[in-house]
């Protein structure tokens, strides 16, 4: 459909959650905004393929998610950037304790496999239905459900239960938790 005023406004209205999704996925504010920008350009260039009346946010999230995945394949995530950089994007700096808790959560989220992280964010934070999340990720609804469940269990193990060392820490994780598995 053509780029009408109302469609333009709808796209604009989706930008804040697109950014939140991009930052949650990439853990890097600068890269997230590049992703959003590329998403918007792609969306506008392909606006003719958008079906009027269908779910615009889901369409935009699909574009962003696919961009992120193809980018990811090219270069691994820059883990060392994930923590400090993200906190800087916050307008309201949380108090020290809340901040620590926040960093812990962010770090744990970054340890999830990408499939699980994106499923959890789409369902648990973006508020998409399992069906929409499945269509965004191009997989079955049951797959999304199981990814979300595994993501939750893993986060719980990392954050609230001692001895999550069987998670299989990579070098960065090992440095963060200051010990090795086993």
């Amino acid at each position: 459909m053509p780029l009408t005023d109302s469609l333009r406004n709808d796209i604009l209205a989706a930008v804040p959650s697109l950014r939140a999704f991009a930052i949650s996925l990439s853990g890097n504010a600068d890269r997230a905004d590049d992703l959003v920008q590329e998403t918007l350009l792609r969306a506008l260039a392909n606006i003719d393929s958008f079906q009027p009346g269908s779910n615009l946010p889901a369409w935009l999230f699909t574009i962003l998610r696919n961009l992120f995945r193809s980018d990811y394949r090219k270069r691994r995530r820059e883990v060392e950037d994930a923590e400090g950089n993200y906190a800087k994007t916050l307008k309201t700096q949380p108090s020290q304790n809340a901040h620590l808790e926040f960093e812990e959560f962010r770090t744990a989220l970054d340890k999830l496999p990408q499939d699980q992280r994106e499923a959890l964010i789409l369902v648990g934070a973006s508020g998409f239905s399992y069906e929409d999340a499945a269509s965004i990720c191009g997989c079955a609804v049951g797959t999304i459900k199981s990814r979300v469940n595994r993501a939750r269990s893993k986060l719980a193990a990392l954050l609230y239960v001692d001895g999550a060392e069987d998670f299989g820490p990579d070098e960065t994780v090992r440095a963060v938790i200051g010990g090795s598995g086993g």
Partner: protein, 76 residues
């Protein structure tokens, strides 16, 4: 990607610290707090402008690097 997957299945330890409703809601709360912090920032100017520019008939997307972010070294 493959290594992530095998890691995922290996690390699923059923029963360990089972997911109580309390822990579930705590995770949900933190997840949304993190997400909504960004959502509340609204639409940064660069995106508002980008979409506005495309308003004019015949306009072509003009990608620009606003703000001259100084930590872009080595990107692309």
């Amino acid at each position: 990607m493959k290594d992530l997957k095998s890691q995922a299945s290996r690390s699923t330890t059923p029963g360990k610290g089972g997911l109580t409703p309390e822990i579930q809601s705590r995770i949900g709360h933190q997840l949304r707090a993190m997400y909504d912090d960004v959502v509340r920032q609204g639409v940064p100017d660069r995106f508002a402008e980008l979409i506005k520019k495309l308003d004019a008939p015949g306009a072509t997307p003009h990608v620009e690097n606003e703000g001259g972010s100084n930590d872009n070294n080595g990107r692309d």
